[in-house]
C-alpha cells in the first residue's frame, strides 16, 4: 500500500511538472505565433519547409512569376528571428548567418535586408515588391496589406 501511495504521489508530481512546463509554452503559442509574411504581390499561399529554407538560405532568388525575391530578416538576438530559425527553418541562427556571409562575400547573391523589429519588418514588407519576412505575432493582429504564407511543416 505505501508503495502504491508513493507511486501516486510521483504521478501527481509528474503531472504537475509536465503541466507547469507545457502550459506557459501553450499559452505563448496561443497568443503569438511565428508567421511568414510577404508583399501583397506575392502569389504564393503555401510553401513547404524546404522551399522556405531555400528562400531564406538564398538558394532561390525568384518567385515562380519571375519577380526577384527580397528576403528581410531581423538581427540574430531578436526573439522572432530565433523562433523563426528554429521552428520554421529548423536551422540555428549561426548557420543562417554563415550562409548569408558566404553568399554576400563571394558574389553568389545579396544579403537579406535588415529590419530591426516587427514594425520595420511590416514597413519593408508592405513597400518592397517580392519581399518575404516573418513576424512573431498574434494571428488575429496581422496587419493589412501583408500577405501571409502558410508553411507546411511536413
Amino acid at each position: 500500500m505505501p508503495s502504491q501511495q508513493g507511486f501516486r504521489r510521483l504521478l501527481h508530481i509528474g503531472w504537475f511538472l509536465c503541466a507547469s512546463l507545457a502550459l506557459p509554452a501553450l499559452g505563448q503559442h496561443a497568443a503569438s505565433d511565428v508567421l511568414v509574411v510577404a508583399h501583397s504581390s506575392v502569389q504564393i499561399d503555401t510553401l513547404s519547409r524546404s522551399q522556405l529554407r531555400r528562400i531564406f538560405t538564398l538558394r532561390q532568388s525568384t518567385w515562380p512569376q519571375g519577380v526577384p525575391i527580397t528576403v528581410v530578416a531581423m538581427p540574430d538576438s531578436n526573439a522572432a528571428h530565433q523562433v523563426f530559425c528554429k521552428k520554421l527553418l529548423r536551422l540555428f541562427p549561426y548557420q543562417l548567418e554563415r550562409t548569408w556571409d558566404k553568399v554576400a562575400y563571394s558574389g553568389l547573391g545579396e544579403r537579406p535586408l535588415s529590419a530591426q523589429n516587427s514594425a520595420e519588418m511590416i514597413e519593408i514588407i508592405r513597400q518592397q515588391p517580392g519581399s518575404v519576412g516573418y513576424l512573431l505575432i498574434d494571428p488575429q493582429e496581422i496587419p493589412e496589406d501583408v500577405h501571409v504564407i502558410h508553411v507546411n511543416e511536413d
Binding site: 504564393i44 510553401l47 524546404s50 522551399q51 529554407r53 531555400r54 538558394r59 532561390q60 532568388s61 525568384t62 515562380p64 519571375g66 519577380v67 526577384p68 540574430d76 538576438s77 529548423r90 540555428f92 549561426y94 548557420q95 554563415r98 556571409d101 558566404k102 554576400a104 562575400y105 563571394s106 558574389g107 553568389l108 547573391g109 545579396e110 544579403r111 518592397q128 515588391p129
Partner: protein, 393 residues
C-alpha cells in the same frame, strides 16, 4: 477621362522607374582587418621569425541586378600575408550571373568571368576574415602557396541546387584558367627557377548533400588542373609541364552549441620534364583536418583542430626524398602536421578579434614547393601565434 489616363500613365511610368531603381541599385559590402603574426623557426611569414604586421586583408564587393535574372558581382581585395602569397591589390572575382531556370524546389545559374571556387568548405571566402573559422586555414587543404590558383578561375561555372524528399543537393562545376604571377611562380618553385608557369586548365566539380531532417552535410569534390613551365635564363629547372588532380571528401555537423567539420584530400601531382630528362615525378599526397568549434556564448567561440599532411603517401616519413637528394632535403619536409587552438571574440556588432596558436611538426606545406628552403626551415617543430582584429559591413 484624359486626365485620368494621364494620371494612370504617369503612375505606371513612376512605378516602373522605381522598380528599375531597385533593380539597379548596387549592394556594397566590405571588410578591413589587421593582425600581428609570428611563425618562429620557419619561413611561413618571414625569414627572421620575428612578430610581423604582415597580416592585412581589406576588400570591397558589389552586386548589382541588371535584370530580374541577371546580376553582376565583383570584389577587389588588398592582401598582405608575408611569404604566404604575393602582396597587393587584386580582383578576387568579377562575373556575370544568369539564372538559367528555376522552380520552387530547384534553381540553376551560369556564371561567366572570374568565378570563385565554391567547391570546398571555406574556399569561396578564404580571404574574408570574419567568415573563416581561424586566421590561418588548415594548410593540408588550403595550402597558401597555391592560393591564387585554387581561389577561382577565369572561365565559366554552372551552379545547380535542388531539394528532394531525401534532402538538399548542390552541384557546382567550373572550367577555366588562373593567371599566375612571377611571385606566385617563385612560391611554387623557388627563386632559382627563373621561367614562367602558365595554367592551361582548371576543371573542378563538387556535390554536396544535406540529408533531410539532419544538421549534417556530406560532400565530394574533384580538381583536374594542368600547368606548363617555360624555362628562363640560367634556370635550375627545365621546360615541361605538371598536372594536379585532387579528390576531396567533406563532412560537417552543426549542433546548437558546437560544430564538427572535416575535409580529407588525396592529391596526385605529376611533373613532366621539369627536372630534366628521366626526372619525371609522380606522387600522391594525402591529408585532412578535423575541426571542432564550441560556441561558449554569443560572443565567444573556441576552436580546436588537428590537421595532417603527407607530401608523398609512399614516403610518409620523408626518408626516400632524403636519400634521393643525398640528405639535402631533411626528412621533415615530407609532412606537416598542425594542432591549432583558437578563440574568437565578437567585441561589438561587425567587430571581431581572433587569436590562435599553432604547434606544427614538419615543413611539407611551406613554400617553395619544388626546391624547398632548407636554410630558414631548419627546425622540425615550429610555432605560430596570430591575433587579428576585423571589421565588416
Amino acid at each position: 477621362m484624359k486626365m485620368k489616363r494621364t494620371i494612370i500613365v504617369t503612375f505606371c511610368l513612376l512605378y516602373g522607374s522605381v522598380c528599375q531603381g531597385q533593380l539597379n541599385e548596387p549592394v556594397v559590402h566590405g571588410f578591413v582587418s589587421q593582425g600581428v603574426i609570428q611563425a618562429k623557426d620557419s619561413n611561413y611569414i618571414n625569414h627572421d621569425g620575428e612578430p610581423s604586421l604582415r597580416l592585412t586583408e581589406i576588400g570591397v564587393n558589389m552586386s548589382m541586378r541588371l535584370h530580374d535574372r541577371v546580376r553582376v558581382a565583383g570584389q577587389g581585395i588588398y592582401l598582405n600575408g608575408g611569404n604566404r602569397y604575393p602582396e597587393g591589390v587584386r580582383i578576387d572575382y568579377l562575373f556575370l550571373d544568369w539564372q538559367l531556370a528555376s522552380g520552387l524546389d530547384w534553381q540553376m545559374n551560369v556564371q561567366v568571368g572570374r568565378v570563385k571556387n565554391y567547391h570546398w568548405l571555406f574556399s569561396a571566402t578564404r580571404d574574408v576574415p570574419h567568415t573563416r573559422p581561424s586566421i590561418i586555414l588548415p594548410q593540408s587543404v588550403y595550402f597558401d602557396s597555391f592560393r591564387d590558383i585554387s581561389l577561382g578561375s577565369d572561365g565559366a561555372a554552372l551552379l545547380a541546387n535542388a531539394d528532394t524528399a531525401a534532402g538538399s543537393l548542390e552541384w557546382h562545376w567550373s572550367y577555366g584558367t588562373s593567371p599566375i604571377s612571377d611571385e606566385q611562380s617563385e612560391n611554387l618553385f623557388s627563386n632559382l627557377a627563373t621561367g614562367e608557369i602558365k595554367q592551361t586548365k582548371d576543371h573542378q566539380m563538387s556535390l554536396v548533400f544535406k540529408p533531410i531532417g539532419t544538421s549534417m552535410e556530406l560532400g565530394l569534390s574533384g580538381v583536374n588542373a594542368a600547368f606548363d613551365y617555360h624555362q628562363g635564363p640560367q634556370d635550375r629547372v627545365f621546360s615541361g609541364s605538371a598536372t594536379s588532380k585532387r579528390l576531396m571528401l567533406r563532412f560537417r555537423y552543426s549542433s546548437e552549441n558546437w560544430e564538427l567539420s572535416s575535409e580529407l584530400l588525396r592529391e596526385w601531382v605529376a611533373y613532366y620534364g621539369v627536372f630534366g630528362p628521366g626526372g619525371d615525378i609522380h606522387q600522391a599526397s594525402e591529408g585532412g583536418y578535423l575541426q571542432w568549434r564550441y560556441f561558449l556564448s554569443p560572443e565567444l567561440t573556441l576552436l580546436a583542430r588537428a590537421d595532417l599532411f603527407d607530401l608523398n603517401r609512399k614516403d610518409r616519413s620523408g626518408q626516400l626524398r632524403f636519400e634521393q637528394t643525398q640528405g639535402a632535403v631533411p626528412r621533415y619536409f615530407g609532412y606537416m602536421d598542425d594542432v591549432t587552438l583558437g578563440v574568437s571574440w565578437n567585441i561589438a556588432p561587425q567587430w571581431r578579434a581572433q587569436f590562435e596558436y599553432h604547434r606544427v611538426k614538419g615543413a611539407g606545406r611551406l613554400a617553395p614547393v619544388i626546391l624547398p628552403d632548407t636554410v630558414h626551415n631548419d627546425q622540425e617543430y615550429w610555432d605560430l601565434f596570430a591575433v587579428q582584429i576585423m571589421y565588416w559591413f
